[in-house]
Protein backbone atom coordinates (compact mmCIF):
# COMPACT_ATOMS: atom_id res chain seq x y z
CA UNK A 1 0.00 0.00 0.00
CA UNK A 2 1.56 3.24 -1.15
CA UNK A 3 1.87 6.17 1.16
CA UNK A 4 0.08 9.34 0.27
CA UNK A 5 3.40 11.11 -0.31
CA UNK A 6 4.27 8.70 -3.08
CA UNK A 7 1.21 9.73 -5.04
CA UNK A 8 2.40 13.21 -5.84
CA UNK A 9 2.66 14.08 -9.49
CA UNK A 10 5.87 15.62 -10.73
CA UNK A 11 5.31 18.82 -12.61
CA UNK A 12 7.13 18.86 -15.93
CA UNK A 13 6.02 22.27 -17.10
CA UNK A 14 6.02 23.46 -20.63
CA UNK A 15 7.86 21.38 -23.21
CA UNK A 16 9.86 24.30 -24.54
CA UNK A 17 11.04 25.50 -21.14
CA UNK A 18 12.06 22.05 -19.98
CA UNK A 19 13.94 21.51 -23.20
CA UNK A 20 15.63 24.84 -22.73
CA UNK A 21 16.63 23.85 -19.21
CA UNK A 22 17.94 20.48 -20.23
CA UNK A 23 18.89 20.52 -23.90
CA UNK A 24 20.32 17.02 -23.94
CA UNK A 25 17.21 15.32 -22.66
CA UNK A 26 15.76 12.75 -24.99
CA UNK A 27 12.47 13.76 -26.47
CA UNK A 28 9.79 11.65 -28.00
CA UNK A 29 7.67 13.21 -30.64
CA UNK A 30 4.17 11.76 -30.57
CA UNK A 31 2.97 14.21 -33.12
CA UNK A 32 0.87 13.98 -36.01
CA UNK A 33 -0.28 11.97 -38.81
CA UNK A 34 2.35 13.32 -41.14
CA UNK A 35 4.87 10.84 -39.79
CA UNK A 36 3.75 7.57 -41.24
CA UNK A 37 3.78 7.50 -44.99
CA UNK A 38 1.64 4.41 -45.17
CA UNK A 39 -1.38 6.12 -43.72
CA UNK A 40 -1.79 9.10 -45.92
CA UNK A 41 -4.49 10.97 -44.09
CA UNK A 42 -5.89 11.36 -40.63
CA UNK A 43 -9.43 10.17 -40.23
CA UNK A 44 -12.45 12.33 -39.98
CA UNK A 45 -13.56 12.90 -36.46
CA UNK A 46 -17.26 13.24 -35.97
CA UNK A 47 -18.54 16.26 -34.11
CA UNK A 48 -15.23 17.99 -33.79
CA UNK A 49 -16.48 21.42 -34.74
CA UNK A 50 -16.42 22.78 -31.20
CA UNK A 51 -13.17 21.05 -30.37
CA UNK A 52 -11.42 22.62 -33.28
CA UNK A 53 -12.24 26.12 -32.19
CA UNK A 54 -11.21 25.42 -28.60
CA UNK A 55 -8.10 23.42 -29.22
CA UNK A 56 -6.92 25.43 -32.17
CA UNK A 57 -3.89 23.73 -33.51
CA UNK A 58 -3.33 21.13 -30.81
CA UNK A 59 -5.65 18.37 -31.92
CA UNK A 60 -3.05 16.20 -33.54
CA UNK A 61 -3.04 13.91 -30.51
CA UNK A 62 -6.67 13.18 -30.93
CA UNK A 63 -6.10 12.60 -34.61
CA UNK A 64 -3.50 10.01 -33.74
CA UNK A 65 -5.91 8.23 -31.43
CA UNK A 66 -8.67 8.14 -33.99
CA UNK A 67 -6.30 7.05 -36.70
CA UNK A 68 -7.00 3.39 -36.67
CA UNK A 69 -10.72 3.67 -36.92
CA UNK A 70 -11.41 5.01 -40.35
CA UNK A 71 -9.06 3.80 -43.04
CA UNK A 72 -9.17 0.11 -42.38
CA UNK A 73 -9.37 -1.07 -45.99
CA UNK A 74 -6.11 -2.12 -47.59
CA UNK A 75 -4.85 0.09 -50.34
CA UNK A 76 -5.69 -2.30 -53.17
CA UNK A 77 -9.44 -2.23 -52.55
CA UNK A 78 -11.82 0.25 -54.07
CA UNK A 79 -13.21 1.29 -50.68
CA UNK A 80 -9.85 2.70 -49.67
CA UNK A 81 -10.02 5.26 -52.44
CA UNK A 82 -13.66 6.01 -51.73
CA UNK A 83 -12.61 7.49 -48.40
CA UNK A 84 -10.90 10.29 -50.31
CA UNK A 85 -14.13 11.27 -52.05
CA UNK A 86 -16.26 11.43 -48.94
CA UNK A 87 -17.49 14.97 -49.43
CA UNK A 88 -20.90 16.46 -50.10
CA UNK A 89 -21.69 19.26 -52.51
CA UNK A 90 -22.00 21.90 -49.81
CA UNK A 91 -18.64 20.90 -48.32
CA UNK A 92 -16.89 21.39 -51.65
CA UNK A 93 -18.56 24.78 -52.03
CA UNK A 94 -17.52 25.75 -48.51
CA UNK A 95 -13.93 24.84 -49.21
CA UNK A 96 -13.92 26.81 -52.45
CA UNK A 97 -15.39 29.79 -50.61
CA UNK A 98 -12.72 29.45 -47.95
CA UNK A 99 -10.01 29.59 -50.57
CA UNK A 100 -11.50 32.74 -52.08
CA UNK A 101 -11.87 34.65 -48.82
CA UNK A 102 -8.77 34.24 -46.70
CA UNK A 103 -9.43 35.47 -43.19
CA UNK A 104 -6.32 36.36 -41.25
CA UNK A 105 -5.86 34.06 -38.32
CA UNK A 106 -8.10 31.32 -39.65
CA UNK A 107 -6.27 28.33 -40.97
CA UNK A 108 -7.78 26.83 -44.14
CA UNK A 109 -6.89 23.30 -43.17
CA UNK A 110 -8.22 23.47 -39.65
CA UNK A 111 -11.31 25.37 -40.56
CA UNK A 112 -12.48 23.68 -43.70
CA UNK A 113 -10.68 20.44 -44.18
CA UNK A 114 -10.93 19.27 -40.57
CA UNK A 115 -9.16 15.98 -41.17
CA UNK A 116 -11.30 15.04 -44.12
CA UNK A 117 -9.07 15.81 -47.07
CA UNK A 118 -10.63 15.01 -50.39
CA UNK A 119 -9.20 14.42 -53.80
CA UNK A 120 -12.30 15.56 -55.71
CA UNK A 121 -11.52 19.26 -55.35
CA UNK A 122 -7.87 19.22 -56.34
CA UNK A 123 -8.42 16.90 -59.32
CA UNK A 124 -11.37 18.63 -60.90
CA UNK A 125 -10.23 22.16 -60.14
CA UNK A 126 -6.94 21.37 -61.89
CA UNK A 127 -8.78 19.81 -64.84
CA UNK A 128 -11.03 22.84 -65.18
CA UNK A 129 -8.03 25.16 -64.89
CA UNK A 130 -6.17 23.31 -67.66
CA UNK A 131 -9.04 23.73 -70.10
CA UNK A 132 -9.81 27.26 -68.93
CA UNK A 133 -6.26 28.39 -69.61
CA UNK A 134 -5.98 26.61 -72.96
CA UNK A 135 -9.37 27.79 -74.23
CA UNK A 136 -8.99 31.36 -72.93
CA UNK A 137 -5.53 31.60 -74.43
CA UNK A 138 -6.80 30.43 -77.77
CA UNK A 139 -9.78 32.80 -77.67
CA UNK A 140 -7.64 35.75 -76.61
CA UNK A 141 -5.14 35.16 -79.41
CA UNK A 142 -8.00 34.92 -81.89
CA UNK A 143 -9.50 38.22 -80.73
CA UNK A 144 -6.15 39.99 -80.73
CA UNK A 145 -5.30 38.94 -84.27
CA UNK A 146 -8.84 39.29 -85.58
CA UNK A 147 -8.42 42.07 -88.10
CA UNK A 148 -5.17 40.91 -89.63
CA UNK A 149 -5.15 39.65 -93.18
CA UNK A 150 -2.29 37.23 -92.76
CA UNK A 151 -3.68 35.51 -89.71
CA UNK A 152 -5.05 32.01 -90.10
CA UNK A 153 -6.83 30.68 -87.07
CA UNK A 154 -5.41 27.53 -85.50
CA UNK A 155 -6.93 25.77 -82.50
CA UNK A 156 -3.47 25.16 -80.95
CA UNK A 157 -4.49 21.86 -79.45
CA UNK A 158 -0.93 20.98 -78.46
CA UNK A 159 -1.11 23.59 -75.72
CA UNK A 160 -3.73 21.61 -73.84
CA UNK A 161 -1.27 18.81 -73.11
CA UNK A 162 1.39 21.31 -72.08
CA UNK A 163 -1.03 23.08 -69.74
CA UNK A 164 -2.12 19.75 -68.26
CA UNK A 165 1.46 18.68 -67.59
CA UNK A 166 2.41 21.97 -65.97
CA UNK A 167 -0.62 22.32 -63.75
CA UNK A 168 -0.83 18.74 -62.57
CA UNK A 169 2.92 18.70 -61.91
CA UNK A 170 2.58 21.87 -59.86
CA UNK A 171 -0.43 20.60 -57.93
CA UNK A 172 1.23 17.29 -56.99
CA UNK A 173 5.01 17.68 -57.01
CA UNK A 174 5.21 20.93 -55.06
CA UNK A 175 3.03 19.57 -52.22
CA UNK A 176 5.17 16.43 -52.21
CA UNK A 177 8.35 18.48 -51.89
CA UNK A 178 6.79 20.68 -49.23
CA UNK A 179 5.55 17.67 -47.28
CA UNK A 180 9.00 16.09 -47.39
CA UNK A 181 10.58 19.34 -46.28
CA UNK A 182 8.15 19.76 -43.37
CA UNK A 183 8.72 16.17 -42.33
CA UNK A 184 12.45 16.74 -42.25
CA UNK A 185 12.11 19.91 -40.18
CA UNK A 186 9.71 18.13 -37.85
CA UNK A 187 12.36 15.61 -37.00
CA UNK A 188 14.70 18.40 -35.96
CA UNK A 189 12.40 20.83 -34.22
CA UNK A 190 9.36 20.10 -32.12
CA UNK A 191 6.43 21.38 -34.10
CA UNK A 192 2.91 21.63 -32.81
CA UNK A 193 1.23 21.65 -36.15
CA UNK A 194 1.93 19.23 -38.93
CA UNK A 195 0.01 18.39 -42.04
CA UNK A 196 -0.43 15.15 -43.88
CA UNK A 197 0.42 14.87 -47.55
CA UNK A 198 -3.23 14.81 -48.61
CA UNK A 199 -4.05 17.93 -46.63
CA UNK A 200 -1.24 19.80 -48.38
CA UNK A 201 -2.45 18.57 -51.78
CA UNK A 202 -5.94 19.69 -50.82
CA UNK A 203 -4.81 23.20 -49.85
CA UNK A 204 -2.86 23.62 -53.06
CA UNK A 205 -5.72 22.30 -55.16
CA UNK A 206 -8.33 24.59 -53.68
CA UNK A 207 -5.98 27.57 -53.74
CA UNK A 208 -5.76 27.21 -57.53
CA UNK A 209 -9.48 27.85 -57.88
CA UNK A 210 -9.04 31.65 -58.07
CA UNK A 211 -7.10 31.21 -61.32
CA UNK A 212 -10.14 29.89 -63.19
CA UNK A 213 -12.02 33.21 -63.31
CA UNK A 214 -8.66 34.96 -63.65
CA UNK A 215 -7.85 32.94 -66.77
CA UNK A 216 -11.23 33.77 -68.27
CA UNK A 217 -10.73 37.47 -67.54
CA UNK A 218 -7.27 37.36 -69.10
CA UNK A 219 -9.04 37.30 -72.46
CA UNK A 220 -9.32 41.08 -72.14
CA UNK A 221 -6.43 42.28 -74.28
CA UNK A 222 -5.14 45.04 -72.03
CA UNK A 223 -1.75 44.65 -70.40
CA UNK A 224 -2.67 46.70 -67.34
CA UNK A 225 -5.86 44.70 -66.71
CA UNK A 226 -3.96 41.44 -66.98
CA UNK A 227 -1.29 42.46 -64.51
CA UNK A 228 -3.85 43.76 -62.03
CA UNK A 229 -5.59 40.38 -62.26
CA UNK A 230 -2.29 38.59 -61.64
CA UNK A 231 -1.70 40.69 -58.53
CA UNK A 232 -5.17 40.08 -57.16
CA UNK A 233 -5.14 36.33 -57.75
CA UNK A 234 -1.66 36.03 -56.31
CA UNK A 235 -2.69 38.06 -53.28
CA UNK A 236 -5.66 35.87 -52.51
CA UNK A 237 -4.20 32.43 -53.11
CA UNK A 238 -0.77 33.37 -51.82
CA UNK A 239 -2.26 34.55 -48.56
CA UNK A 240 -4.28 31.34 -48.20
CA UNK A 241 -1.11 29.32 -48.61
CA UNK A 242 0.97 31.57 -46.37
CA UNK A 243 -1.59 31.54 -43.58
CA UNK A 244 -1.88 27.78 -43.81
CA UNK A 245 1.81 27.03 -43.65
CA UNK A 246 2.96 29.73 -41.27
CA UNK A 247 1.83 27.78 -38.15
CA UNK A 248 3.70 24.74 -39.40
CA UNK A 249 7.06 26.47 -39.63
CA UNK A 250 6.66 29.15 -37.00
CA UNK A 251 8.43 27.14 -34.29
CA UNK A 252 11.45 26.77 -36.47
CA UNK A 253 14.47 28.96 -36.99
CA UNK A 254 13.28 32.39 -38.09
CA UNK A 255 15.15 32.44 -41.34
CA UNK A 256 14.11 28.94 -42.35
CA UNK A 257 10.48 29.77 -41.67
CA UNK A 258 10.59 32.96 -43.72
CA UNK A 259 12.47 31.24 -46.54
CA UNK A 260 9.82 28.52 -46.71
CA UNK A 261 6.95 30.95 -46.95
CA UNK A 262 8.77 33.07 -49.53
CA UNK A 263 9.52 30.00 -51.64
CA UNK A 264 5.88 28.92 -51.57
CA UNK A 265 4.68 32.32 -52.73
CA UNK A 266 7.46 32.57 -55.31
CA UNK A 267 6.54 29.25 -56.92
CA UNK A 268 2.93 30.36 -57.05
CA UNK A 269 3.95 33.58 -58.75
CA UNK A 270 6.05 31.67 -61.23
CA UNK A 271 3.09 29.51 -62.17
CA UNK A 272 0.72 32.39 -62.81
CA UNK A 273 3.19 34.61 -64.66
CA UNK A 274 4.45 31.67 -66.69
CA UNK A 275 0.93 30.73 -67.75
CA UNK A 276 0.15 34.31 -68.70
CA UNK A 277 3.31 34.65 -70.75
CA UNK A 278 3.07 31.33 -72.57
CA UNK A 279 -0.59 30.93 -73.34
CA UNK A 280 -1.59 34.52 -73.93
CA UNK A 281 0.05 36.63 -76.62
CA UNK A 282 0.98 40.16 -75.73
CA UNK A 283 -1.83 42.49 -76.79
CA UNK A 284 -0.34 45.63 -78.30
CA UNK A 285 2.90 44.52 -79.89
CA UNK A 286 1.45 42.32 -82.61
CA UNK A 287 -0.73 44.99 -84.11
CA UNK A 288 2.07 47.35 -85.07
CA UNK A 289 4.10 45.29 -87.59
CA UNK A 290 1.05 44.40 -89.67
CA UNK A 291 -0.17 47.99 -89.97
CA UNK A 292 3.34 48.90 -91.09
CA UNK A 293 3.48 46.04 -93.56
CA UNK A 294 0.13 46.57 -95.25
CA UNK A 295 0.79 50.10 -96.61
CA UNK A 296 4.10 48.77 -97.99
CA UNK A 297 2.33 46.08 -99.92
CA UNK A 298 -0.21 48.48 -101.37
CA UNK A 299 2.61 50.83 -102.37
CA UNK A 300 4.58 48.07 -104.11
CA UNK A 301 1.43 46.82 -105.81
CA UNK A 302 0.73 50.34 -107.05
CA UNK A 303 4.30 50.66 -108.31
CA UNK A 304 4.32 47.36 -110.14
CA UNK A 305 0.99 47.89 -111.88
Amino acid sequence: MAAVDDLQFEEFGDVATSLAANPDATTINIEGPGESPKRPGPPRGSGREEDDELLGNDDSDKTELLAGQKKSSPFWTFEYYQTFFDVDTYQVFDRIKGSLLPIPGKNFVRLYIRSNPDLYGPFWICATLVFAIAISGNLSNFLIHLGEKSYHYVPEFRKVSIAATVIYAYAWLVPFALWGFLLWRNSKVMNIVSYSFLEIVCVYGYSLFIYIPTAILWIIPQKAVRWILVMMALGISGSVLAMTFWPAVREDNRRVALATIVTIVLLHTLLSVGCLAYFFDAPEVDHLPTTAVVPNQTVTAAKSS
Binding site: F84, F85, D88, Y120, A127
Partner: protein, 235 residues
Amino acid sequence: MAEAAESPGDPRTTSPRPLFAGLSEISISQDIPVEGEITIPMRSRIREFDSSTLNESVQNTIMRDLKAVGKKFMHVLYPRKSNTLLRDWDLWGPLVLCVTLALMLQRGSADNENDGGPQFAEVFVIIWFGAVTITLNSKLLGGNISFFQSLCVLGYCILPLTVALLVCRLVLLAKPGPINFIVRLFVVIVMFAWSIVASTAFLADSQPPNRKALAIYPVFLFYFVISWMILTFAP
Protein backbone atom coordinates in the same frame (compact mmCIF):
# COMPACT_ATOMS: atom_id res chain seq x y z
CA MET B 1 -44.01 -50.05 -54.40
CA ALA B 2 -41.40 -50.27 -51.74
CA GLU B 3 -41.14 -53.07 -49.30
CA ALA B 4 -39.50 -53.25 -45.97
CA ALA B 5 -35.78 -53.34 -46.44
CA GLU B 6 -34.08 -56.49 -45.34
CA SER B 7 -30.99 -56.00 -43.32
CA PRO B 8 -27.96 -57.46 -45.08
CA GLY B 9 -26.82 -60.48 -43.22
CA ASP B 10 -27.98 -61.92 -39.97
CA PRO B 11 -27.82 -59.27 -37.30
CA ARG B 12 -27.68 -61.74 -34.46
CA THR B 13 -24.41 -63.32 -35.55
CA THR B 14 -22.38 -60.17 -36.47
CA SER B 15 -22.81 -57.98 -33.37
CA PRO B 16 -25.24 -57.58 -30.53
CA ARG B 17 -26.42 -54.16 -31.72
CA PRO B 18 -25.73 -53.44 -35.45
CA LEU B 19 -25.85 -49.93 -36.76
CA PHE B 20 -28.95 -50.07 -38.84
CA ALA B 21 -30.81 -52.50 -36.70
CA GLY B 22 -33.95 -50.45 -36.60
CA LEU B 23 -34.28 -50.39 -40.35
CA SER B 24 -35.76 -53.79 -40.60
CA GLU B 25 -38.70 -52.67 -38.54
CA ILE B 26 -39.55 -49.82 -40.84
CA SER B 27 -42.31 -50.35 -43.28
CA ILE B 28 -43.66 -47.83 -45.67
CA SER B 29 -47.38 -47.84 -45.67
CA GLN B 30 -49.18 -47.81 -48.87
CA ASP B 31 -51.05 -44.65 -48.01
CA ILE B 32 -48.13 -42.44 -48.96
CA PRO B 33 -47.58 -42.70 -52.66
CA VAL B 34 -43.99 -42.67 -53.71
CA GLU B 35 -44.59 -43.20 -57.32
CA GLY B 36 -44.87 -40.72 -60.09
CA GLU B 37 -43.47 -39.72 -63.38
CA ILE B 38 -40.17 -38.13 -64.08
CA THR B 39 -40.23 -36.27 -67.34
CA ILE B 40 -37.97 -33.73 -68.95
CA PRO B 41 -39.84 -30.61 -69.95
CA MET B 42 -40.41 -30.77 -73.63
CA ARG B 43 -39.45 -28.34 -76.31
CA SER B 44 -42.55 -26.31 -75.73
CA ARG B 45 -41.19 -25.18 -72.39
CA ILE B 46 -37.54 -24.41 -73.10
CA ARG B 47 -36.74 -21.51 -75.37
CA GLU B 48 -34.61 -22.57 -78.24
CA PHE B 49 -31.78 -20.44 -77.06
CA ASP B 50 -28.48 -22.04 -77.62
CA SER B 51 -28.88 -23.70 -80.92
CA SER B 52 -30.91 -20.98 -82.61
CA THR B 53 -28.51 -18.05 -82.50
CA LEU B 54 -25.76 -20.28 -83.80
CA ASN B 55 -27.81 -21.44 -86.72
CA GLU B 56 -29.41 -18.19 -87.71
CA SER B 57 -28.15 -16.30 -90.69
CA VAL B 58 -25.53 -13.62 -90.30
CA GLN B 59 -27.96 -11.03 -91.51
CA ASN B 60 -30.27 -11.77 -88.60
CA THR B 61 -27.50 -11.36 -86.07
CA ILE B 62 -26.28 -8.10 -87.52
CA MET B 63 -29.77 -6.70 -87.87
CA ARG B 64 -30.57 -7.54 -84.27
CA ASP B 65 -27.53 -5.67 -83.01
CA LEU B 66 -28.14 -2.78 -85.36
CA LYS B 67 -31.72 -2.50 -84.18
CA ALA B 68 -30.55 -2.41 -80.56
CA VAL B 69 -28.08 0.35 -81.35
CA GLY B 70 -30.69 2.25 -83.34
CA LYS B 71 -33.19 1.99 -80.51
CA LYS B 72 -30.67 3.49 -78.13
CA PHE B 73 -29.97 6.32 -80.55
CA MET B 74 -33.67 7.11 -80.51
CA HIS B 75 -33.66 7.11 -76.73
CA VAL B 76 -30.85 9.63 -76.74
CA LEU B 77 -32.55 11.89 -79.25
CA TYR B 78 -35.79 11.89 -77.28
CA PRO B 79 -34.59 11.52 -73.72
CA ARG B 80 -37.14 10.19 -71.29
CA LYS B 81 -36.43 8.52 -68.02
CA SER B 82 -36.17 4.98 -69.18
CA ASN B 83 -34.00 2.05 -68.34
CA THR B 84 -33.21 0.76 -71.78
CA LEU B 85 -29.80 2.36 -72.05
CA LEU B 86 -28.85 1.14 -68.64
CA ARG B 87 -30.29 -2.35 -68.77
CA ASP B 88 -28.97 -3.55 -72.10
CA TRP B 89 -25.81 -1.60 -72.41
CA ASP B 90 -23.51 -2.06 -75.34
CA LEU B 91 -20.47 -0.19 -76.53
CA TRP B 92 -21.02 -0.42 -80.28
CA GLY B 93 -22.75 2.94 -80.50
CA PRO B 94 -20.08 4.82 -78.53
CA LEU B 95 -17.35 3.21 -80.64
CA VAL B 96 -18.98 4.20 -83.92
CA LEU B 97 -19.61 7.75 -82.70
CA CYS B 98 -16.13 8.17 -81.31
CA VAL B 99 -14.44 6.92 -84.47
CA THR B 100 -16.64 9.16 -86.63
CA LEU B 101 -15.87 12.18 -84.48
CA ALA B 102 -12.14 11.47 -84.40
CA LEU B 103 -11.95 10.87 -88.15
CA MET B 104 -13.69 14.11 -88.96
CA LEU B 105 -11.87 16.24 -86.40
CA GLN B 106 -8.32 15.21 -87.15
CA ARG B 107 -6.07 17.60 -88.95
CA GLY B 108 -4.36 16.58 -92.14
CA SER B 109 -0.73 15.70 -91.98
CA ALA B 110 0.16 18.47 -94.40
CA ASP B 111 -0.68 21.14 -91.82
CA ASN B 112 1.94 22.54 -89.50
CA GLU B 113 2.79 20.10 -86.81
CA ASN B 114 2.74 22.21 -83.70
CA ASP B 115 -0.49 24.09 -83.95
CA GLY B 116 -3.77 23.09 -85.37
CA GLY B 117 -6.51 20.78 -84.37
CA PRO B 118 -6.20 17.49 -82.56
CA GLN B 119 -4.96 14.29 -84.11
CA PHE B 120 -7.13 11.19 -84.34
CA ALA B 121 -5.44 9.62 -81.34
CA GLU B 122 -5.89 12.74 -79.24
CA VAL B 123 -9.63 12.89 -79.83
CA PHE B 124 -10.00 9.16 -79.24
CA VAL B 125 -8.03 9.33 -75.99
CA ILE B 126 -9.89 12.39 -74.76
CA ILE B 127 -13.27 10.77 -75.32
CA TRP B 128 -12.50 7.38 -73.84
CA PHE B 129 -10.31 8.51 -70.97
CA GLY B 130 -12.72 11.30 -70.23
CA ALA B 131 -15.59 8.84 -70.04
CA VAL B 132 -13.58 6.45 -67.86
CA THR B 133 -12.56 9.27 -65.52
CA ILE B 134 -16.14 10.47 -65.14
CA THR B 135 -17.31 6.92 -64.44
CA LEU B 136 -14.61 6.40 -61.82
CA ASN B 137 -15.47 9.74 -60.26
CA SER B 138 -19.14 8.85 -60.01
CA LYS B 139 -18.38 5.45 -58.51
CA LEU B 140 -15.93 6.91 -56.01
CA LEU B 141 -18.55 9.41 -54.90
CA GLY B 142 -20.83 6.51 -54.08
CA GLY B 143 -23.00 6.13 -57.14
CA ASN B 144 -24.56 2.75 -57.79
CA ILE B 145 -24.18 2.48 -61.51
CA SER B 146 -21.99 -0.12 -63.08
CA PHE B 147 -18.84 0.81 -64.96
CA PHE B 148 -19.99 -0.18 -68.42
CA GLN B 149 -23.49 1.20 -68.03
CA SER B 150 -22.01 4.61 -67.36
CA LEU B 151 -19.60 4.34 -70.29
CA CYS B 152 -22.51 3.33 -72.50
CA VAL B 153 -24.63 6.35 -71.50
CA LEU B 154 -21.79 8.83 -71.86
CA GLY B 155 -20.83 7.40 -75.24
CA TYR B 156 -24.34 7.39 -76.65
CA CYS B 157 -24.96 10.96 -75.52
CA ILE B 158 -22.18 12.15 -77.84
CA LEU B 159 -24.68 11.62 -80.70
CA PRO B 160 -26.08 15.20 -80.69
CA LEU B 161 -22.54 16.58 -80.86
CA THR B 162 -21.71 14.32 -83.80
CA VAL B 163 -24.78 15.66 -85.57
CA ALA B 164 -23.53 19.17 -84.76
CA LEU B 165 -20.17 18.37 -86.34
CA LEU B 166 -21.83 17.14 -89.52
CA VAL B 167 -23.94 20.31 -89.69
CA CYS B 168 -20.85 22.46 -89.07
CA ARG B 169 -19.00 20.74 -91.88
CA LEU B 170 -21.86 21.45 -94.24
CA VAL B 171 -22.10 25.07 -93.11
CA LEU B 172 -18.35 25.52 -93.62
CA LEU B 173 -18.79 24.74 -97.32
CA ALA B 174 -20.58 28.06 -97.65
CA LYS B 175 -18.91 31.47 -97.63
CA PRO B 176 -16.85 32.09 -94.49
CA GLY B 177 -17.75 35.07 -92.37
CA PRO B 178 -19.33 36.10 -89.10
CA ILE B 179 -22.77 34.76 -90.04
CA ASN B 180 -21.20 31.40 -90.74
CA PHE B 181 -19.66 31.47 -87.30
CA ILE B 182 -22.87 32.53 -85.56
CA VAL B 183 -24.79 29.69 -87.17
CA ARG B 184 -22.17 27.18 -86.12
CA LEU B 185 -22.05 28.60 -82.60
CA PHE B 186 -25.80 28.34 -82.28
CA VAL B 187 -25.91 24.75 -83.53
CA VAL B 188 -23.09 23.65 -81.22
CA ILE B 189 -24.67 25.32 -78.19
CA VAL B 190 -28.03 23.68 -78.83
CA MET B 191 -26.50 20.24 -79.30
CA PHE B 192 -24.31 20.69 -76.23
CA ALA B 193 -27.38 21.44 -74.13
CA TRP B 194 -29.13 18.42 -75.65
CA SER B 195 -26.23 16.13 -74.71
CA ILE B 196 -26.19 17.41 -71.16
CA VAL B 197 -29.94 16.96 -70.75
CA ALA B 198 -29.85 13.46 -72.22
CA SER B 199 -26.99 12.21 -70.08
CA THR B 200 -28.38 13.84 -66.94
CA ALA B 201 -31.73 12.15 -67.51
CA PHE B 202 -30.02 8.78 -67.49
CA LEU B 203 -27.29 9.29 -64.95
CA ALA B 204 -28.72 11.54 -62.28
CA ASP B 205 -30.79 8.93 -60.51
CA SER B 206 -27.89 6.69 -59.71
CA GLN B 207 -26.05 9.28 -57.63
CA PRO B 208 -26.49 9.88 -53.92
CA PRO B 209 -28.78 12.89 -53.50
CA ASN B 210 -26.38 15.24 -51.75
CA ARG B 211 -23.64 14.71 -54.32
CA LYS B 212 -25.54 15.03 -57.57
CA ALA B 213 -23.88 18.29 -58.55
CA LEU B 214 -20.44 16.84 -57.84
CA ALA B 215 -21.12 13.92 -60.17
CA ILE B 216 -22.76 15.95 -62.97
CA TYR B 217 -20.16 18.71 -63.21
CA PRO B 218 -17.48 16.50 -64.87
CA VAL B 219 -20.04 15.46 -67.49
CA PHE B 220 -20.59 19.14 -68.23
CA LEU B 221 -16.82 19.71 -68.56
CA PHE B 222 -16.46 16.67 -70.84
CA TYR B 223 -19.12 17.76 -73.31
CA PHE B 224 -17.89 21.34 -73.14
CA VAL B 225 -14.41 20.28 -74.26
CA ILE B 226 -15.84 18.19 -77.12
CA SER B 227 -18.05 21.12 -78.16
CA TRP B 228 -15.04 23.41 -78.15
CA MET B 229 -13.15 21.00 -80.41
CA ILE B 230 -16.11 20.91 -82.79
CA LEU B 231 -16.60 24.67 -82.81
CA THR B 232 -12.96 25.44 -83.50
CA PHE B 233 -12.71 22.93 -86.29
CA ALA B 234 -11.22 24.58 -89.34
CA PRO B 235 -10.51 22.40 -92.37
